[in-house]
């Protein structure tokens, strides 16, 4: 694996050059998280202040926190899938796959670009949350980093599964890159507790790390308690889902090489 950091940097550099040259792409990264935060932030203000006639209540804070943190999953997932689709759209995959770039290095580069995109995308929303809604996402302290990491990892394994589907079904499956994570939202328990879901749907939510992260987040924000039990569940599930996604990615990459799909993936 000699030269791995340089190869990963090479592909990250390719995406940085693209963003440096395209301001609409840069704006797009931050546009949706900021818009979501504005809509839900004002909604939270309405419910917490205007309907109760007093100072903002903690439920409003939990709602804003939910919006902000769920965006980590969405941005992380879209960051990976979009970067891979960029290679398909520019018909560059042929060159990449005949270079010494290993599949693991390709994934490493996609995750690095995703991390950069997530930070850039959430920075304006984080500042707006502080200025407009008096919500400081870092106020609970270092424990928030554990929530961030778990949500980031969840976004990544969802994205790896999507890339595996792109290997299998080609660019025709690109709609999945934009829709899958949004489809998970109802069972991720971002804005309401697990107990709000119908009984039969709760096991589905419990299989997702996000549901445990947001249960833990609400415990922290509403009761000031760090729920390590929920954190352990989220971490354990993330490990399992990551292993599953990596296996599917490896399997579909191999199948694509057998079928010849790497040559025609953009068609």
């Amino acid at each position: 694996m000699n030269g791995t950091p340089q190869r990963i940097w090479g592909l990250v550099y390719r995406h940085l050059c693209m963003y440096r040259r395209s301001w609409p792409r840069l704006v797009e990264i931050a546009y949706w998280p900021t818009l979501e935060l504005l809509i839900w932030g004002f909604t939270a203000n309405f419910f917490s202040r205007d309907l109760h006639g007093g100072s903002p209540i903690l439920a409003g804070v939990a709602l804003v926190a939910g919006v902000l943190l769920w965006e980590i999953v969405l941005r992380a997932q879209i960051g990976v899938a979009f970067s891979f689709l960029e290679e398909i759209w520019s018909r560059n995959l042929g060159h990449l796959f005949v270079s010494p770039l290993r599949p693991a290095e390709l994934v490493g580069a996609l995750l690095s670009v995703s991390l950069i995109r997530t930070i850039i995308g959430l920075l304006p929303a984080t500042i707006i949350a502080f200025l407009l809604y008096h919500y400081d996402v870092f106020a609970p302290g270092p424990v928030m980093v554990l929530f961030f990491v778990n949500l980031l990892v969840m976004g990544w394994w969802v994205a790896l599964a999507i890339v595996a589907l792109l290997f299998r079904y080609g660019a025709g499956a690109e709609a999945l890159a934009w829709t899958i994570a949004f489809g998970i939202t109802p069972v991720a328990c971002v804005f309401y507790p697990l107990s709000s879901l119908p009984y039969w749907l709760q096991p589905v939510a419990q299989a997702l790390p996000a549901a445990h992260v947001f249960e833990g987040l609400r415990a922290l924000l509403l009761h000031g308690q760090t729920d390590w039990h929920q954190f352990a569940w989220a971490t354990g599930l993330n490990i399992l889902w990551t292993l599953a996604a990596v296996s599917i990615f490896g399997l579909e990459f191999r199948r694509a090489r057998v079928r010849g799909a790497l040559i025609s993936i953009g068609e």
Partner: protein, 242 residues
């Protein structure tokens, strides 16, 4: 020692047999022409040589490495150019070459890019987005990319397609010079028979996934009693027998 050794290579798709028991070798320092009509199996063969495609059966050894087990060791010492695969159009020519320089771990990258830019008349184009270039300019950039890592083996798919005669001749000379200077081996897929006659030490005529004939261009011309490789190509492509 061979740069490429292909033994009993087969690629079978559910509805077609693309490559049928193909065997050949490319000696170090030689240029081998891979010829054949559309659908003869050239692209499939090149894809398998590059590790893009897994053979159904058979064995490929490139620069001493078994491609089924250790393809990345071989890929680091080879390169590929085709006008049919793009480089990212929003990146400048220099940025594209930098990206691939990193992917191939090219030492003294800035110097190497300067050398190639001069060699392929790209100096003026380095700051232009690759997507804004003409087809001929893109082909020259792709060739420069393929020589970045000073490969021991170069696979070229129609390297002078869309180049004007002057630039085409310039590129052929550059490839000959590169071969002489480095002792590199080149596998060339081309429909330009004059180019094949000029560059290739040996040619492999493919038809329906198999070797229809092979030999040095001048030997094939003599054997078939023709004027040039164009006529040999047409004779083999139109004959019923394989």
């Amino acid at each position: 020692m061979e740069a490429i050794r292909v033994e009993n290579l087969v690629k079978r798709y559910p509805k077609a047999l693309a490559v049928d028991n193909l065997s050949f070798t490319l000696e170090r320092g030689q240029i081998l022409g891979l010829l054949g009509g559309n659908g003869a199996g050239k692209t499939t063969t090149i894809s398998m040589l590059l590790g893009l495609l897994v053979p159904t059966s058979g064995r490929i050894t490139v620069l001493g490495h078994d491609m089924a087990k250790n393809r990345f060791a071989a890929l680091a010492r080879m390169n590929f150019s085709s006008p049919y695969i793009s480089l990212p159009g929003r990146l400048t020519v220099r940025e594209n070459l930098e990206v691939y320089g990193h992917l191939y771990n090219v030492p003294k990258l800035k110097t190497r890019i300067g050398q190639l830019a001069e060699q392929f008349r790209l100096t003026e184009l380095l700051t232009r987005p690759a997507g804004d270039l003409s087809a001929g300019q893109k082909t020259r950039v792709a060739l420069a990319k393929s020589l970045l890592n000073q490969p021991d083996l170069l696979l070229l798919d129609e390297p002078t397609a869309s180049l004007d005669p002057d630039t085409g001749d310039y590129v052929r000379t550059a490839l000959e010079d590169y071969r002489v200077a480095t002792g590199a081996s080149i596998l060339l897929a081309s429909h330009n028979m004059a180019e094949v006659e000029r560059l290739c030490d040996h040619v492999l005529m493919m038809k329906q996934g198999r070797v229809a004939d092979h030999g040095a261009p001048e030997d094939l011309i003599t054997r078939y009693g023709r004027e040039d490789m164009e006529e040999v190509f047409l004779h083999i492509a139109r004959s019923e027998a394989i």
